[in-house]
Subunit: 257 residues, 2 copies
């Protein structure tokens, strides 16, 4: 099952904001058993936003977006999404009440800009915002589950529980572990890792992340092993077998020196 | 002029690594006068990497990628790029010597995996790696300047000077400033900002970033103004005029309370 992430906002593309939202969403999707096959970062422009949803929805089972749900002129995610697919925007009463209550509590009037946040595509569900004002949106488009979340990290994070419940899969278990080895270069162990990947096939992925200790100058290598399976015991068994094999390989590399 | 960023690596999509490289590259491109219109995050898979370069190069003046240049089986950026455009991979002597010297200094043999990093598309220039091993690659494809950089942030960063020199534009100046106002909600100032944007047109962009002080609970609003112009004085002048207008608007909002 394939999932994609769309991050919306000029501030992301020009590097004012680091795209930490995409990483948080990616972790949720990955640990839920999905293959995250693409991430897109697009500016606050209707055409780009619409195209991104169109392309990602046509090729994914789940699409999660963040950004562009606020009250300002350049928060146009919902409008762009609705225009692309030809959905009418309708006032959602629950969203309107939430926004109004939040504004009233702060002694603020209900302006056109605040009201805008209560309009959602016809047929969509809202995801209530427990941290800020703009609601999120959930919609199923031809089998693709689309989640439109705010860009403010705390608001986005508070909606991930909802996303997690909606995308949960039965019979898909995922396990991941890392081994840290020292004094072994990535290029030295690379051919062995390559052989292991071939031997175990599709359900296993091994990736190496080199780093050098700033104090000792010693090279560390993190070897990250992940396994997917239909039973949790099977995933665990694969991981422990792989760990043993990698430890054996590391020892033999050390002995060769 | 349009620029795009491609980040390559499963670790980015599954959220193990936060995509800080894209933000650093975005800043360079933006401050050099380019419109960063798209960021892509793709997994370590030949087809996805190839497609990403094909699509971004066809629609951009500059494309910068990071990731997938190391020695392991899943570092396939250069192969995928070359395969997509039909470029032959040839051994680059300078790169080979650099890699060999670095390995020898560490007492390591020149393996097949290390040698792989010295193969570059025919006609490409290498960008020497002063921090790590794998060289970067620079190539002009039909008017699009393509930079292929490593994923390790310190190695990537060390090559940004080279990128900056190659993409420098004459007669394009950029200026940016932020004003912080307190006690004003984003939705309250939104219609005024919208009017300002219409008044000044294409060369100006104003974006608001709300945040709440965790200590006082007071709401801060950062109002970010940026201007592009063909003369530095002009960009500065636009910014200072805008600052005045925004300060006036903020004062009048405060008086209305």
């Amino acid at each position: 099952l394939r999932a994609a992430i769309i991050t919306i906002g000029n501030e992301i593309l020009k590097g004012k904001t680091i795209n930490s939202n995409a990483a948080e969403i990616g972790r949720l999707l990955y640990f839920s058993g999905y293959e995250v096959w693409r991430g897109l970062m697009v500016p606050d422009r209707e055409e780009d936003i619409g195209q991104a949803f169109r392309e990602m929805c046509s090729k994914s089972d789940v699409v999660v977006s963040t950004g562009g749900l606020g009250p300002t002129f350049d928060d146009i995610t919902v409008e762009s999404f609705a225009a692309e697919f030809g959905f009418q925007l309708v006032l959602n009463k629950e969203a309107y009440e939430d926004i109004k209550n939040r504004s009233t509590a702060k002694g603020l009037p209900m302006t056109k800009e605040r009201e805008k946040m209560a309009y959602v595509p016809k047929g969509a569900k809202i995801i209530r915002n427990t941290v800020g004002t703009a609601p999120g949106i959930y919609m199923n488009i031809g089998g693709c589950k689309v989640f439109i979340l705010p860009g403010v990290p705390s608001e986005m994070r508070a909606m991930l529980d909802f996303v997690g419940r909606k995308i949960r899969l039965e019979n898909s278990f995922y396990k991941e572990e890392s081994i840290i080895v020292t004094g072994i270069y990535e290029a030295t162990i690379a051919p062995y890792i390559s052989d292991l990947m071939k031997k175990y096939g599709d359900e296993v992925y091994i990736k190496t992340h080199p780093s050098v200790s700033p104090l000792s100058g010693e090279s560390h290598l993190e070897i990250e092993i992940s396994a997917h399976s239909d039973k949790p015991e099977k995933a665990e068994e694969i991981i422990s077998r792989l760990k043993e094999e990698i430890m054996r390989i590391s020892e033999s590399i050390h002995k060769l020196k």
